[in-house]
């Protein structure tokens, strides 16, 4: 059991930490892209603002959409949203929960881009240099005698080191704008951290029981999807194996029985026989193309109800408790099958 626990923990943490890992990688990619990107302000009054603000927002939107694309659960969400109701009712809170968790993960890389851009300050300098009032920085008579258009052109050249000759004004102005940009950056970080704090720490005050339910079922939906894919893959493999085997048999003209023997016969420990039997079992009774198509179609059009049948869960229990019915059978079995399972005899002794 301990071995199972560790394996499960690894798997479970693996799935979640896989998502978190992708999230972290995208955040790092976002920061790295910013430092690798060569920011080059156009230094013209008509385009400065567009370039500066565009560089602040467009990669943000792009990273957000990329987060959606890279998240595996988006297709699970759309599946659950679009499927016909069928035997299983739809719960809108589950859809909302899945959407919220996908959105939260996708918001991290854009937030990193925005905060890195604001802390660096270049985009703000580019966008707002034409709005500067140079008198703040000292008695500079640069702007006297210039027309409006020329004033704007001069101010627009501030972000470009090579185009603006008065270095001390440029330094003072860029320091000023960078300071404002960093203040905005810190405020942005404070705001998102505070909102995250409100959501995570204060939420248990409201509807915690409903939250447990939604968390369980949304996780269930993802697992069920994966299980279905795995079962289909296994089924396809067994289907193919049996199909090919049958084909060869048909060609060779021999007919060999597939039904497993009653047990205990000497040649039943043939390895091929065993593997063929397990392949048959894995087919789960679906042996024709039409049947398989029906399975796949109904999986979307009419998902099964969330209620496991009693006989499947308690199949063995029934056998265990049904003493009289199996008494004769057991008597028969004891004589002929020395390797019968332990479970046939169950005697309850209490430790009291």
């Amino acid at each position: 059991m301990d071995k199972f626990r560790m394996m499960f923990q690894f798997l479970q943490s693996n799935q979640e930490s896989f998502m978190n890992g992708i999230c972290g990688i995208m955040a790092l990619a976002s920061a790295q892209m910013y430092s690798a990107f060569e920011f080059s302000c156009p230094c013209m009054p008509e385009y400065n603002y567009t370039y500066g603000i565009g560089l602040l927002f467009i990669p943000t939107i792009w990273f957000f959409l990329l987060g959606f694309v890279m998240n595996n659960n988006v297709s699970a969400l759309t599946d659950e949203w679009k499927r016909p109701t069928g035997k299983r009712t739809k719960d809108p809170t589950i859809l909302r929960y899945m959407f919220c968790s996908i959105t939260q993960r996708s918001l991290i890389a854009p937030a990193v881009w925005v905060s890195v851009t604001l802390m660096d300050g270049k985009s703000f300098l580019c966008a707002f240099s034409i709005d500067l009032d140079l008198d703040k920085f000292g008695n500079y008579s640069l702007l006297t005698g210039l027309s409006e258009v020329e004033k704007l052109r001069l101010l627009a050249r501030i972000p470009c080191k090579e185009l603006f000759e008065h270095h001390e004004i440029r330094e003072a102005a860029s320091r000023y704008i960078k300071c404002i940009s960093q203040a905005c950056g810190w405020m942005f970080l404070l705001m998102i951290t505070f909102m995250a704090f409100l959501i995570r720490a204060i939420r248990p005050c409201f509807s915690q029981a409903a939250f447990l339910k939604t968390k369980y079922w949304s996780h269930y939906i993802e697992i069920e999807r994966k299980m279905f894919d795995d079962t289909c893959k296994e089924h396809a493999k067994s289907f193919a194996k049996v199909c090919i085997h049958q084909y060869f048999e048909n060609i060779s003209g021999e007919i060999r029985s597939f039904h497993h023997h009653r047990s205990g016969k000497g040649d039943s420990d043939d390895e091929d026989e065993d593997s063929r039997r397990s392949d048959e079992e894995k087919l789960l009774g679906i042996r024709a193309q039409d049947d398989m198509n029906k399975v796949l179609w109904n999986w979307h059009a009419s998902k099964p109800a969330l209620a496991l049948r009693k006989d499947q869960v308690d199949g063995e229990n029934n056998g265990r408790l049904n003493g009289e019915a199996n008494g004769a059978a057991n008597g028969f079995a004891k004589g002929h099958t020395p390797d019968v399972e332990k479970r046939e005899w169950a005697v309850y002794y209490s430790k009291v």
Binding site: F137, W186, N330, V347
Partner: protein, 330 residues
């Protein structure tokens, strides 16, 4: 690999050590953030103080919220505080203990940021260079057209041309940095003395037995929540597997009578299938799962596991055809 597993298991079993590790990682992140942050003093009299104090105060607040967020105990504490009483009585001492532990851990990263800024001195210089009396130092540049306040405000900026040929800027910086470091070391000393006194004096004011109990039950709550989450995940997995298999089997064309198999022709079942059925614990319907989760919140079970610890074990006895006992578990 074995050693790694052991280490992981050790850390996971003690929730406190994980919280401590995360707390220290956050403190290191705080230092890294400070070193990578490009501090940019505006060097203007109206904005210097505002900017510097902003940089000294806002990041600690952010780090504090982050510290509360990443701590597992926050969720455990809020759950325990907000839940209805149900079968299990509430112990306010546990909630208080969790709250104070969470608060202490969350305060570490902000304190580290503040101390690092003070010991480094840049921020103090930016904030308080205008308050320095220039008469203490020689070499104040007076050939610029600017008044004294504006000149003093430019001291934090190294590249400014008005300080090109004088040592005035360096002298003032050194002076303010000295103050800043003194304040930083004093705060550090104060905190350490406070911590030491707290540690020494606590046993006199504390009931040791009660505090042992509180620590036990707060650790228990954390472990219980973790295990519940894990059990839910395992259960969901098995539920899903059974649901899918059932779905496939329902699609069979040929009608199959569902009778219990005569036992002597039972398919030899794989061992893991039995463990799976056990893991379902008899909860096999949507309504049952919903009811279970509802009850977990509204009516947590009492802390008494006598029933399951002493439940009757099924023993097996092997007898041959004549009734002679070959083997018995009894």
């Amino acid at each position: 690999m074995e050693r790694l597993k052991l280490v992981l298991q050790y850390f996971q079993s003690k929730s406190e050590s994980i919280s401590n590790v995360i707390c220290i990682i956050l403190a290191l992140v705080s230092v890294k953030l400070y070193t990578s942050f490009d501090f940019n003093c505006p060097c203007l009299p109206q904005y210097n103080k505002l900017y510097s104090l902003g940089v000294m105060i806002v990041p600690p607040i952010i780090l504090f919220f982050l510290g509360v967020l990443v701590n597992r105990h926050t969720g455990v504490m809020m759950d325990e505080w907000m839940r209805p009483v149900g079968n299990r009585s509430k112990n306010p001492a546990v909630v208080k203990y969790l709250f104070s532990a969470m608060l202490q851990r969350a305060m570490l990263a902000p304190m580290v940021w503040i101390l690092v800024t003070l010991l480094d001195g840049k921020i103090f210089i930016c904030a308080f260079s205008v308050s320095v009396d220039p008469a203490l130092f020689s070499g104040l540049p007076n050939n610029t057209g600017l008044d004294v306040i504006k000149v003093m405000a430019k001291v934090p900026c190294k590249e400014d041309i008005i300080f090109r040929n004088s040592s005035f800027r360096k002298a003032v910086s050194r002076y303010v940095r000295c103050y800043s470091q003194a304040v930083g070391w004093s705060i550090l000393l104060f905190l350490i003395v406070l911590g030491a006194i707290g540690r020494l004096v606590k046993p006199y004011f504390d009931d040791h037995a009660a505090s042992l109990q509180t620590r036990y039950w707060s650790n228990y709550l954390d472990v219980e929540q973790k295990l519940f989450d894990e059990t839910c995940v395992l259960h969901a997995r098995d539920f899903a597997r059974k649901c899918v298999v059932q779905f496939f089997e329902d699609m069979r064309e040929d009608a199959v009578l569902r009778l219990p198999h005569p036992l002597f022709v039972t398919n030899p079942k794989v061992e893991w299938e039995d463990e799976e059925e056990e893991r379902l614990h008899g909860v096999s319907k949507q309504e049952q799962v919903d009811q279970l989760l509802n009850k977990w919140y509204y009516n947590k079970p009492e802390l008494d596991v006598t029933r399951i610890a002493h439940r009757p074990k099924s023993c097996v006895t092997w007898e041959d055809r004549n009734g002679k006992t070959l083997y018995s578990d009894v």
